[in-house]
Symmetry: C3
Subunit: 345 residues, 3 copies
């Protein structure tokens, strides 16, 4: 069961080039993406209504306004309607495939998987840091063989940072002992947390001009929006200066953007970047920060994949909730509510 | 569900050599094949009645009249009866494995998977072109990870030729706009089609002495017999001379022989050859024609495998029928009827 | 369904080193093994009660008395109780994982998978030959993708030796025609057998000083204890001198120790060694004997894996019992009885 009436990240904008097609499955629906002559992304179901072949194995026609299935030659327009088929004068009205609302915004391609009439662009999260001239980041993608909610759990409980990521984004274990403030909204949760007088995390400590061994105040403000977009304002400043995120003198700040897009019940697309606004004229800094994040996310992937395997060994396994799970419990409540609301009454 | 009372192609004659065994699964039944001293092919269930071991891991005895299971030493005669077991004076009557009627005919080994009493050799399709001195071809085999009916669909609708196989067997797209005449018989369908004044297909055009760029008349007469044997008379002649398949002056003709043998519900053996009767003293021509066919069949395999994957993503997917599907709708009707007739009433 | 109240072999003693963890699944339960400061083996469920992560991806603390889950930092003591979690003052009582009784005995680590209160060390089979100064062997391990009972069948019917293992442990086929005496006990079966005036098996014949081509008397006494431990006294002596296993002049003897430990319903751990008490000052002899055994067991693995595949093709397949199956029929009766007795009444 997935939320359908919501925007999912379908890919980085350059995943869909001017030539050819991108074939990607989202919440069990095979999709074909391409750009029309004007460069606008089109998304149709990647399963010909005739015999189920992949349209992404076909070819663009009419300057990119149409796709022709190269199995039997049916042509579909950008709305998914079949407009031509060999030896067929009258096309049956059900000869069509689903089309999906698409919006490109700040480097990401967003797709609405539910009722197109309800596609509300104002719900698209703001990821302006991905293409802002004063911020720098590299594009990240990981494929996970787990249910997306296990990754959401991970991103909703950063008390795991000092344990799982000691050499990158972790810092000292006192970081785990401060619980974030958790606020539940209509479509997600907001977490805010300050940890004062703590060790700086290894992956960014070297870019601050703080004295060797100096402690820092770390902040983390983020929204996690159902079903899976994380927008985070995080960073550190010299110990004793923290507490108010508006005052950022001598701060080192990041605006992490991450998106979980379920592929199937047991696999997930994971898009991410970690923009920073310091040393932006030094590409090697951006590269190193990205490498540190990728290293940490690979640690996550191994741990979460072991979780999935353990759950598959005993599907009746019941998790024991702890205080650190407040955010993820609230988030799962939101997801369940959204799914429930979509069911026919 | 498979048709059982029918002849399936079990293999090319040289798949079963004088030495050793062939192990091959057909409609979910593991089978062992070997040749007796006289060279006759024997087929038994490849699953010892004692503990289920593969007889094909055993050894021939009594000059090939028997097979000994090399797990515990049971010996089976050519009828599948166990005639000896260690430390066992009286063998229980149920100590036997199934045996299957086998007929070798024109390079193919045919097996009857249903009631042996109903095995009617007159039902074996005629593939004389596979070993006729005036025809030449190479042996082909492909393994598919799809249900055999998806491949049958492909072979029953050649309107896909110009789209999926433009560089080999395709020709121009007008070929797709002429629907074949479809006649349903007791055990299959017959398709006949002439396309006049069309482009010759690339894989054979070079062997005709027609002027550069000249159009041709193409014919295609074939029987598709349940569950999966295709016998085709096809070819081309200079444009304006076609219409009567009996008059073949300046024609270039083929007698394609193809057989689909289900391995399991989601995998299929595919045997094929494409005999020609021109330039038969030039082996490189036979080789080139075969290579063109193999290239085209690999295009089919990729497309049909994508179909299977799309159907598995949504088993409730309903195909939208078009006019070009007449033959395959009729054929599926025949297969369903044969299966229904085999059910106990 | 598995027997739970019994000792399984969890591994060779050196599978669990002083550093790090061993992660191994037994009867569907993921387990983590490690050694405490005193070198004693501890076994807990390898699935953190909090979110299901693998404790074996964690780290030892308190000198090896505890393990810390490196996902969120929970600490478990040697009894499986969670004694610490970040930002959590009061731990819920259900915050624990299962712990398992462990006994190390003669090179093997034994684990009791059922009710710890019923763990009876007197039930641990005696494998003293694995570390006896007058016996030599090498450690063996194989992983099987089959249900353990198919391997038990193999080990309970040595009439397969001359057929499946002619070049190693087999000997001549008359060996198969002598049925062993089978006695059923509370937790297993005992088989005894003498075969007189038979060929010596190839793997050990060369170490006897018998005349070239001389026949031998072979004995085989063994217990097969549910669910899967085989302890065997076997060997050969010059033909005409056999019949009484107490008189072993000129005999060549082995004390095979083998253990089947189910991993899942369709996979099995197989631990084995084949101690001998002759030529113990020549390591190359021990090595050769081991190689012969490994060769034979690989032959078994291929045959038994083919059985498993054949059974999966038709789960309704019914085995036809023969006289040689007496021991394995009795053994399956014992296993079924033990499982039945564990069900709540």
């Amino acid at each position: 069961m997935f939320v359908r009436n919501c925007w999912y990240v379908a890919g980085w904008d350059n995943d869909v080039g001017d030539e050819g097609f991108l074939s990607r499955t989202i919440i069990n629906v095979p999709l074909v993406f391409w750009r029309d002559a004007a460069g606008k992304v089109i998304a149709l179901e990647d399963r010909c209504c005739h015999r189920g072949a992949k349209l992404s194995m076909g070819r663009k026609e009419n300057g990119g306004d149409c796709v022709r299935c190269m199995y039997h030659g049916l042509v579909f327009d950008r709305t998914g309607q079949c407009i031509s088929a060999p030896a067929q004068d009258r096309l049956p009205p059900q000869a069509k495939v689903r089309s999906f609302p698409i919006v490109e915004s700040h480097r990401w391609i967003w797709i609405w998987m539910g009722n197109p009439d309800r596609a509300d662009e104002s719900l698209i999260p703001d990821t302006r840091w991905l293409d802002h001239p004063e911020w720098r980041s590299q594009d990240g993608y990981l494929h996970y063989d787990v249910n997306y909610l296990l990754i959401a759990d991970n991103l909703l409980d950063f008390s795991h940072l000092p344990f799982l990521h000691p050499t990158t984004v972790g810092g000292s274990t006192d970081y785990a002992s401060v619980l974030p403030k958790v606020e539940r909204g209509e479509r997600g949760v907001r977490l805010t947390k300050w940890v004062k007088g703590t060790q700086p995390p290894a992956y960014s400590a070297k870019y601050a001009n703080y004295p060797e061994g100096a402690l820092v105040d770390r902040w983390m403000y983020y929204d996690f929006l159902a079903p899976g977009v994380l927008l985070m304002d995080s960073g550190m400043m010299p110990a004793g200066t923290g507490g108010n995120v508006e005052h950022r003198e001598s701060a080192l700040a990041f605006r992490g953007c991450q998106a979980l897009t379920p592929e199937t019940e047991t696999s997930t697309h994971y898009f991410f970047a970690h923009p920073h606004n310091f040393l932006i004229d030094r590409p090697e800094v951006t590269k190193e920060i990205h490498a540190g994040i990728v290293h940490a996310f690979e640690e996550d992937r191994q741990m979460i994949t072991s979780q999935q395997q353990n759950i598959e060994l005993d599907p009746s396994f019941k998790m024991v909730p702890l205080g650190i799970d407040a955010a993820l419990s609230q988030f799962r409540w939101v997801v369940d509510k959204l799914i429930r609301e979509e069911q026919p009454s």
